[in-house]
């Protein structure tokens, strides 16, 4: 394993370990409000300072990692699988199937899903637990996030459909299902890995934006997305660089995922 991949493994293990050990590393918890020390800079008691209502930012980053690091990749996996199924299959079948699937995909890309999400929130009880709320959010993101990759996968699968090795396999009498899963899908992996890698931060950020609809994490539960929203007060954040820590952490984790995946990409290539 190369040095970069080893480093990526160590980083991810550290981040995951820290989130699991949040109870010990940040015993004050993510919800306790130190009302006498709001918006405080880093100190010995608060390593990353406190937020606008006095909650320890370090604790919130650790606990937020649990939510974001578990659920965002799960939602990314769901959207990737759906993209593979819909886009890959459509491209493989070609003809009218591909045209119909892509028309549906284009429709999906254009519709204002904001209103579906608002309706989803309305159907949920107001007293739903924060965890259920965030699970539903990531599930919806996974179910709606496949469209961009499906288009690319359809084009890729379409190219493969007319390639020599696929024609040869067909000529030897290989059943369609086996041909698709064993010979076509592995060649879609570069796009699938790209889709997976892109989706993780996109879903983390989308979850925070969905807060305006009542979806996403409910207070006081933190998530990386909600922590990143602090950066929107950019007028003064330049004077408070510790607020960039969630962003740096997200970039580091996303890069580590990519470095780990790059081995798989090379093998897929």
């Amino acid at each position: 394993m190369s040095f970069c991949r080893k480093l990526a493994c160590v980083v991810l293990a550290l981040v995951l370990g820290a989130s699991v050990a949040a109870n010990w590393l940040a015993p004050s918890g993510y919800a306790k409000q130190f009302r006498e020390a709001t918006d405080a800079p880093p100190s010995r008691t608060h390593w990353l300072g406190t937020d606008e209502i006095g909650r320890d930012r370090f604790a919130r980053v650790l606990y937020g990692t649990r939510i974001s690091l578990l659920l965002a990749p799960a939602a990314a996996l769901l959207s990737t699988l759906m993209a593979a199924l819909i886009g890959g299959l459509a491209g493989y079948l070609g003809g009218a199937w591909a045209r119909m699937a892509m028309a549906v995909t284009d429709l999906f890309l254009s519709l204002p899903w904001l209103f579906l999400l608002i309706t989803a929130r309305a159907l949920m009880p107001l007293n739903v637990s924060p965890l259920v709320s965030v699970l539903v959010t990531f599930l919806l993101l996974g179910l709606l996030g496949w469209t961009a990759a499906a288009r690319v996968l359809c084009a890729t699968a379409g190219t493969l459909r007319t390639s020599d090795f696929v024609r040869q396999a067909r000529a030897t009498g290989l059943p369609g299902r086996r041909l698709f899963w064993v010979h076509v899908v592995p060649n879609l992996k570069p796009v699938l890995y790209a889709q997976f890698w892109i989706s993780i931060p996109v879903f983390i950020l989308s979850e925070a934006n969905l807060g305006i609809l009542g979806l996403g994490v409910a207070e006081p539960l933190p998530s990386w997305g909600s922590l990143l929203k602090e950066l929107e007060g950019l007028v003064s954040v330049g004077e408070e660089p510790w607020k960039f820590v969630p962003l740096i952490l997200l970039v580091v984790v996303v890069t580590s995922f990519q470095l780990l995946l790059s081995k798989q990409e090379e093998v897929a290539a």
């Binding site: 190369s2 970069c4 045209r99 892509m102 028309a103 284009d106 429709l107 890309l109 254009s110 519709l111 204002p112 899903w113 904001l114 209103f115 579906l116 608002i118 309706t119 929130r121 309305a122 469209t147 961009a148 288009r151 690319v152 359809c154 084009a155 890729t156 379409g158 190219t159 007319t162 060649n187 570069p190 796009v191 890995y193 790209a194 890698w197 892109i198 931060p201 996109v202 983390i204 950020l205 925070a208 934006n209 990143l228 929203k229 950066l231 929107e232 950019l234 007028v235 962003l247 997200l250 970039v251 996303v254 890069t255 990519q258 470095l259 790059s262 990409e265 090379e266 897929a268 290539a269």
Partner: protein, 290 residues
């Protein structure tokens, strides 16, 4: 020739049907979403009961989505796209006044995004240096992790055009796809053979790699148009740019059905045209290859 004409006509009809379906589905989504019947003005304590009722009655006329859409299509056929509920102005005027700004923003944004994408992806695939690859991954990853609102705010802070913010929102997506597709293309046996035979890198790239990945890159290009359209909403809203993206956001908050239906139809048309165009070109390229 005749069959080509039929094919084109068929595609055209399918496009129109999809666009109209998009409009109808959008109207349905808006109509079914909570808050459709509510006008913020009802909460004004100065309004008496009759005025509040008048506001509610005004909203009720659009309750039946089939009736609304049928009447909308009828009027649209005569050039009347309806009147915005939130702004009280004809939708046609609003779209006409704001479209040029959004078109400029999207064109510049997409152009910049693809310039960045191709520069970095081609160089990453060509050089095949893990350090360079890691660096580009970190750069694109950083922009991917930055909220769109922050990028928009940065563009205001640094006095740079909003199109740069759009470019930086779109480029990480397109870069990753393009880079992976190029890496895969470079690993094909015929490329390895070409290199072994001493073919120049430029020739390999333009004659053997790009033709292979063009259909997929075109698909990514088509998708990038949708990404850019989506990015235009927060960028215009935050940067105070009076474009269609800002209008879409206002319309969504106000449940402005006439405006939302028209914007969805416009977005669906743009998306379909972009993706269909990509499909047609890639078909031609594949045909030439064959």
């Amino acid at each position: 020739m005749r069959s080509l004409r039929w094919k084109i006509a068929g595609h055209g009809l399918a496009l129109v049907a999809t666009v109209l379906l998009g409009g109808f589905l959008s109207a349905t989504l808006v109509r079914l979403a909570p808050g459709f019947d509510v006008d913020e003005r009802e909460l004004d304590p100065h309004l008496n009961a009759q005025s509040v009722q008048a506001l509610r009655d005004a909203r009720h006329q659009d309750r039946n989505v089939f009736k609304f859409y049928f009447s909308y299509m009828n009027r649209a056929a005569h050039g009347d796209l309806g009147t915005s509920l939130a702004l009280g102005q004809p939708v046609r005027t609003l779209l006409r006044d704001r479209a040029p700004l959004t078109m400029r923003l999207l064109t510049m944004g997409l152009g910049l995004a693809w310039l960045l994408t191709l520069t970095l992806a081609l160089s990453a695939a060509w050089l095949r240096l893990s350090v360079y690859d890691t660096m580009t991954t970190v750069v694109s990853g950083t922009f991917l992790c930055l909220p769109a609102a922050v990028l928009a705010l940065l563009s205001v802070l640094w006095n740079v055009p909003g199109s740069l913010a759009i470019a930086l929102i779109v480029f990480p997506h397109t870069y990753r796809y393009a880079r992976n597709l190029l890496v895969k293309a470079y690993s094909r046996p015929h490329i390895i053979t070409a290199r072994a035979k001493g073919l120049g890198e430029a020739r390999i790239l333009f004659w053997h790699v790009l033709p292979v990945v063009t259909p997929q890159l075109l698909a990514v290009a088509g998708v990038s148009v949708s990404l850019a359209v989506g990015a235009a909403i927060p960028v215009e809203a935050l940067c105070g740019l009076a474009g269609i993206g800002q209008l879409a956001w206002q319309a969504a908050l106000a449940r402005d059905l006439p405006l939302l239906v028209n914007i969805t139809i416009l977005v669906t048309l743009v998306t379909l045209l972009a993706n269909s165009g990509a499909d047609v070109i890639s078909h031609v390229v594949r045909g030439q290859e064959a």
